[in-house]
């Protein structure tokens, strides 16, 4: 069987998003290609999370277009995934949460079982396979959410502040899995408030301000010398995060 044509690049053309009479995204055009780990930064209310949801298809743009190189077919397994700030897990065991995601993706049989358990091993939760997911700690729940993504092997992964409410140890674990996913070929697009994390993970940075994309720079360059005064103020902590 021929491998499906890649989803990427993902193109955004003059994307605008309004809700309740407020314009959250004000005409963003950009392209996400395979490879580089992209981190989206910006002060509170810049529209970072909304941008991720527009890319992932959870929101529909008011105007403009979000187009994939080879769009997913309705009913076919998804080739993109998203990890939210607060993981949403079903009231069943850790392993069953992954099995569920695989089932929805249309992956069944032997491969289903192998992938589910392998994913738990990948995040160090193999000893917790039968534990109910909802009673795990916050860090374990987010690791399980990452395991679910690992099992799905998406082409592109959107992460919306996945470590915002985690302690440093749990944060480190999540970052390790993000890097492993990147190594395995998944395109990473992540929103974070943590500049240290951006330093550790980003190849390139998109800086959003009031719903506009003000900058797109290689990470080292942005963090050393941002082009816009807004980004400079943001890095100095003068804008609300």
């Amino acid at each position: 069987m021929r491998a499906p044509t890649s989803l990427l690049p993902l193109r955004l053309e003059a994307v605008v998003f309004e809700t309740a009479g407020r314009r959250i995204i004000r005409g963003i055009s950009t392209t996400f290609r395979r490879g580089a780990r992209t981190v989206i930064l910006g002060p509170n209310g810049a529209g970072k999370s909304v941008l991720l949801r527009l890319c992932h298809g959870l929101l529909t743009p008011t105007s403009g277009a979000v187009t994939w190189n080879a769009p997913e077919l309705p009913g076919a397994p998804r080739r993109q995934a998203m990890v939210f700030q607060r993981p949403v897990l079903l009231r069943r065991s850790a392993l069953d949460n992954i099995r569920y995601a695989l089932k929805v993706s249309g992956i069944r049989g032997r491969e289903h079982e192998d992938r589910a358990f392998e994913a738990l091993c990948k995040v160090g939760l193999e000893g917790h396979a039968d534990r109910p997911a909802r009673v795990m700690s916050g860090g374990e729940q987010q690791r399980l959410a990452m395991a679910r993504v690992w099992a799905l092997r998406p082409e592109i992964l959107f992460l919306d502040e996945p470590t915002a409410s985690l302690d440093p140890v749990a944060t480190h674990e999540i970052e390790r899995v993000i890097l492993a996913l990147h190594e395995a070929g998944t395109k990473i697009v992540m929103v974070t408030h943590n500049l240290g994390q951006a330093r550790r993970l980003a190849d390139e940075i998109l800086f959003l301000y009031h719903g506009r994309l003000l900058e797109r720079q290689p990470a080292h360059q942005f963090l050393k010398q941002p082009a816009s005064s807004e980004a400079a103020r943001f890095l100095e902590g003068e804008l609300p995060w």
């Binding site: 949801r53 998804r78 939210f84 079903l90 009231r91 929805v104 993706s105 997911a133 909802r134 009673v135």
Partner: protein
């Protein structure tokens, strides 16, 4: 006062002796009401869950109507089912009027909207939390409805209980479509109504006691199940 005291003593004696007539009435009541809960749940829960996760013009109107139907008077349901099943009615050929089957049909109609309306509320709350994740995974609306029903099953126990409570305690519908025939369609509520009007307080009181006990035991059981599950599964 002494009459009531004597009646209560006789009632207790009937219960403790396991009076066959009493047992038959209790068993029929349970059979009819439990069957109605099962059929009501098969119709009401999926419909309520689907309504919670879907979007179509007029959805709000359907929800308002379902909520209104929760207060459906049981005698009206009884009357409508009676007209449908009576010899001259459109379903008269079935010949099931004044049978337990007719009582199950009436009670199912009575509680299905309640189960749908309540499950719609529970699933809608769950949908608020799960929506983005399930859509992200590529789950269909119908799949999401079923997933939520399964995931929220311990909250739905309370809803089933409300349905059972309504079915077991209503008297109007079963009286009309069952006919309160001794040994055939006589259930706890209709017997209590009849025996009280006849002045046979011991049997009425005994059945009242049993009815109360059943409701208490079922409630306590459901509470324990829900608490244990919540503690275990979060």
């Amino acid at each position: 006062m002494s009459t009531i005291g004597e009646a209560a003593a006789q009632a207790l004696a009937l219960v403790t002796a396991g009076d066959p007539k009493l047992v038959a009435i209790v068993l029929l009541s349970l059979r009819v009401s439990l069957a109605a809960v099962v059929f009501g749940a098969l119709i009401g829960l999926p419909f309520g869950a689907w309504l919670a996760v879907t979007d179509f013009p007029g959805r709000r109107a359907v929800i308002v109507m379902l909520n209104a139907l929760m207060g459906l008077p049981s005698v009206v349901v009884g009357l409508v089912v009676y007209l449908l099943l009576s010899r001259a009615g459109p379903l008269g050929s079935w010949g099931i009027l004044f049978t337990p089957t007719a009582m199950v049909i009436a009670q199912t109609i009575l509680i299905a909207p309640t189960l749908a309306a309540l499950s719609q509320q529970v699933v809608a709350d769950g949908w608020g939390e799960y929506r983005e994740q399930l859509r992200s995974l590529g789950e269909t609306r119908l799949g999401a409805a079923m997933t939520l029903l399964w995931d929220l099953k311990f909250s739905l126990v309370t809803i089933l209980l409300a349905g059972f409570g309504r079915a077991a305690s209503e008297v109007g519908a079963v009286m009309i479509v069952g006919g309160n025939i001794d040994g055939v369609t006589r259930v706890m509520t209709t017997t209590i109504a009849l025996e009280t009007s006849k002045g046979d307080l011991p049997l009425a009181l005994a059945l009242g006691l049993v009815l109360l006990t059943i409701v208490l035991v079922v409630n306590a059981g459901a509470y324990v199940v829900k608490e244990t599950a919540q503690h275990r599964y979060g």
